[in-house]
């Protein structure tokens, strides 16, 4: 067996076409890893820089301020979701779903849906990363490598000769396909291993990625074998394989997406915005008790401080901001639930599409899928709640903030994956 494989390896390596395909695979793998790493590095740098900038900005704002209402109004915080160590492998939806926000104590529903306003043309054209390479390009490389291994021999009328010369009979072509696939696997994984060594990913993460690579190669090796066994004509075999690729990589995900979006409706973001604005703005025209009564019901500890005598008081201002959030929150939660449900429903579609399966596995491992975005949003919401709990005692007791109080203002810390 090993001798046979050794010989097949020698045969393969003598072929110029094969060598060039392996070189192309190597470079595509390397380029996609590089592109992903550059994108993620830029994001890391940006998060770091903005965090420093906003800290120095905060110091400027706090200078000479003691009024808690005023401080909470003008003090912005950065909330962000730093990319995971593995993010360079699968940039996923990070560019599409916002991963940093600038928030203050005002109604959160008016702030948390802001986007980074990224270039939509870049988003539409997609990006090259290892995940794209594995899920979309790698099958094409396997097809290119294997679609004519038998047809070629039929054409040159050597098929029978080769089969009879091997002790494995016509299974020699399986061995041949496996040897060539192994070469491809090596060409594809070597750049990844180099990248992995230069990053901080764990051995388990690295082996999962390599495992997915091998899985994809095996799937397409099997499909190729299935087709090339049956089709004597190289072009027909190639065409059949390309059609299978089209169906598995493009059509099933597209049809699945259309179906899932039809079956799992989500509320329109527009209704969150309109609802929240009405709730917040109505408060200005309503009697103060209309805000403070439900507020003190939610926060019984502030009941005895709930009276608002002046036309404007900070505690009332922040109370109606929070009450506005509470009105819009159910719609926002329904949106998040819809996003999660859609993501979960797509898992079933992914069972029919190895490419989508790999993309989903990788983005889940890399923390670049919609679930991670929702975790980050939850993290930002928790931080906003933490700020409210910090400021409310100052606002309700109408207490000026001392230097040491200022030092205690909560700071955002990214939540662990």
């Amino acid at each position: 067996m090993l001798r046979e494989m050794q010989r097949e390896f020698n045969f393969a390596w003598k072929e110029t076409a094969l060598r060039s395909l392996i070189v192309v695979a190597f470079f595509l793998s390397a380029i996609s890893l590089l592109a992903g790493a550059l994108t993620i590095n830029d994001q890391e740098d940006l998060a770091l820089r903005l965090n420093t900038e906003i800290k120095s900005e905060q110091l400027q704002i706090l200078k000479g301020k003691t009024d808690p209402g005023d401080i909470a109004y003008s003090l912005f915080h950065l909330t962000f979701d730093p990319p995971s160590e593995l993010a360079f492998v699968a940039v996923g939806q990070r560019n599409e779903l916002t991963w940093l926000h600038r928030v203050r104590l005002l109604a959160l529903e008016g702030q948390i849906h802001e986007t980074s306003d990224a270039n939509p043309e870049i988003l539409t054209l997609g990006h090259l990363d290892f995940s794209f390479f594995l899920s979309v390009l790698l099958p094409l490389l396997v097809i290119g490598l294997l679609f004519d291994i038998e047809a070629r021999e039929h054409r040159d009328r050597r098929h029978e000769l080769i089969c009879s010369a091997s002790r494995f009979g016509n299974r020699i072509f399986l061995i041949r396909a496996m040897v060539r696939s192994l070469l491809l696997a090596a060409a594809v994984t070597v750049p990844f291993i180099i990248a992995a060594i230069n990053s901080n990913i764990t051995l388990i993460q690295a082996s999962s990625v390599i495992g997915l690579t091998l899985f994809q190669i095996v799937v397409w090796l099997a499909l190729s074998q299935f087709i090339t066994r049956r089709m004597r004509e190289a072009a027909t075999a190639g065409l059949s394989l390309i059609s299978i690729w089209l169906v598995l990589t493009l059509l099933i995900p597209i049809i699945g997406k259309i179906f899932v979006e039809y079956r799992v409706p989500v509320p329109n973001g527009g209704s969150i915005l309109l609802t929240q604005r009405e709730a917040v703005n109505d408060a200005w025209d309503l009697p103060k008790t209309a805000t403070m009564k439900p507020f003190t019901e939610a926060y019984p500890e502030w009941r005895e401080y709930g009276d608002v005598g002046k036309p404007f008081e900070w505690k009332w201002y922040y109370a109606f901001q929070e009450m506005g959030d509470r009105t819009a929150k159910p719609i926002a939660q329904a949106l998040y639930k819809g996003m999660r449900d859609r993501h979960e429903a797509m898992a079933w579609i992914a069972l029919l599409s190895p490419s989508l399966l790999i993309e989903r596995r990788l983005t889940a491992l890399a923390g670049t899928d919609v679930l991670q975005h929702l975790r980050y949003i939850q993290c930002s919401r928790r931080f906003h709640a933490e700020m409210r709990h910090f400021y409310y005692p100052f606002l309700f007791h109408e207490k000026a903030m001392s230097e040491s109080n200022l030092a205690e203002i909560p700071e955002f810390k990214p939540c662990a994956l």
Partner: protein, 483 residues
């Protein structure tokens, strides 16, 4: 029989396709996909348009039906503007799914557009798109490859090529016949496009822009026809023609777009809204708070007004100075805000410019660029929407500030927090809120779209000529120059 043999070769090629199960099933599959993509996108555009227009009307109505109140309250109440798809979106949705659909407009701030459809869409990988644009850019070339890869190499393999040449068919005429056959089928695949374009015309798109878009797609497919017949003419075997064409297809249709996008993204930095907001906050420091008339930033303005109207105190001015200060502060702030948003737009444009140049290397990318620009689903159109939104914002805010200055007395304005009667008098009637700049109708920037897509059209024409000349050159040599 000058054109006769070309015609017969073409007809025979057609007959061959209809006898081949493979070609026939490819034709049927591609037609179904084209029709499905058109139905899917039209449906999507119509639902999205209806939803967003519905919200837009609701937003205008709620703004205009607000009760009597202080005009500055209306500045903070704000307004929403929704981005609606252009008629040609039924062909190419372009950036629509990735660009925010709604923007909140208020005083003193420029917000980002929010809720791009992709925010809540199901994620199905990067290639999951079923629009006619996608079908024509990616799938129809594959169909043409399936039909045409063997067109000339088959005759060579079967030995019929020599026979044809011996009966006075020149290699050039053989190539022309095959090209005619493949070109005709490319034209037929354009039928769903014509249906989609007619639909767009019925929705208000001018006929000439629709025709121009058709020309772009036709040129692109013709380029493929030339690439395919040239490859087939140059290859000894059909199998190698097939492999070569598939390689070309993968590079042009699968790799070139994400590769170009990654190059642009990493080559030209774009820092985004949050970075820009932090910078804006620093730049705004010291420009004065328009809510606070005592802010020292307005000392000069106040002194000038007092001198101009020859009065001793602000109370004696013939208008409410608080409104003037708001008006003035908004203008100063807006200049700074626009400086930063222009900077951001320039950064995004620089990225897109990289992609546009890379279009010279790939006809598929050139067509993508052409298509989004003519369809009005490009970055430029999105930025026009953002500029239009800013115009609407500045317009209503300043109208309200003017009311603040002209219709409210200074005396009432300063006492409104302590005196309920003054407070009542600072509320102006609800009929004043009918001030929104009309945004309900979609502005159709035909001239801009034509001029923005024209360089890409030239690139397509260049590719088509280049492919045609290459093809004619290799075809002329017949079997003497097979690779």
């Amino acid at each position: 029989m000058r054109l006769g043999d070309i015609y017969f070769i073409a007809k025979d090629e057609w007959r061959y396709w209809f006898r081949s199960r493979l070609s026939l099933s490819a034709i049927i599959a591609a037609s179904l996909l084209l029709v499905a993509s058109l139905i899917n996108t039209t449906h999507q555009v119509q639902t999205e348009s209806a939803t967003r227009e519905g919200f837009q009307q609701e937003a205008v109505k709620t703004f205009e039906s607000q009760p009597a109140r202080h005009p500055h309250r209306m500045i903070h109440y704000g307004h929403y503007i929704f981005r609606t798809p252009t008629p040609l979106s039924v062909i190419d949705l372009g950036v629509d799914a990735s660009a925010g659909t709604v923007m909140f407009l208020e005083g003193h701030r420029q917000n980002s557009t929010v809720f791009p459809p992709n925010y809540s869409n199901a994620y199905a990988g990067q290639l999951a798109d079923l629009s006619p644009a996608f079908a024509y850019q990616m799938l129809v070339p594959l169909l043409l490859i399936i039909l045409g890869y063997a067109s000339i190499s088959r005759e060579r393999e079967l030995g019929t090529e020599i026979v044809l040449y011996s009966i006075a068919v020149t290699p050039m005429r053989l190539w022309l016949g095959k090209t005619l056959a493949l070109g005709a089928s490319a034209v037929i695949t354009l039928t769903p496009l014509v249906v989609g374009l007619s639909f767009a015309v019925s929705e208000g798109e001018p006929v000439w822009t629709a025709a121009y878009m058709f020309l772009g797609y036709a040129t692109y497919l013709l380029t493929w026809v030339f690439i395919i017949t040239a490859t087939s003419a140059v290859c000894q075997r059909s199998a190698s023609a097939f492999t070569t064409l598939l390689g070309i297809w993968i590079v042009l249709c699968v790799i070139s777009a994400p590769l170009a996008s990654s190059i642009a993204e990493t080559g030209k930095s774009y820092e985004g809204k949050v970075a820009s907001d932090i910078a804006v906050q620093q730049a705004l420091r010291g420009t004065g708070d328009g809510h606070n008339e005592a802010d020292i930033a307005f000392n000069q303005l106040r002194a000038e007004l007092l001198r101009q109207y020859e009065v001793k105190s602000v109370e004696s001015l013939p208008f409410n100075i608080r409104g003037i200060i708001s008006l003035n502060a908004e203008e100063t702030q807006t200049k700074i805000l626009n400086r930063f948003s222009d900077q951001r737009m320039e950064q995004a444009k620089a990225q897109t410019q990289v992609i546009y140049w890379l279009g010279l290397l790939s006809p598929t990318l050139a067509l993508k660029n052409f298509s989004v620009n003519i369809a009005g689903t490009s970055l430029s159109e999105y930025q026009r929407f953002q500029r239009q939104a800013e115009r609407v914002r500045f317009d209503f805010v300043q109208k309200l500030n003017t009311m603040h200055a002209e219709q409210l007395t200074y005396d009432d304005d300063i006492k409104r927090s302590i005196d309920p009667l003054s407070e009542q008098r600072t509320r102006i009637d609800s009929h004043h809120w009918k001030i929104l700049y009309a945004t309900s109708h979609h502005e159709n920037f035909e001239v801009a779209r034509i001029s923005e897509s024209f360089p890409h059209f030239l690139a397509l024409i260049f590719w088509c000529f280049f492919a045609a000349i290459m093809a004619a050159n290799v075809a002329k040599k017949g079997d003497k120059n097979v690779a």
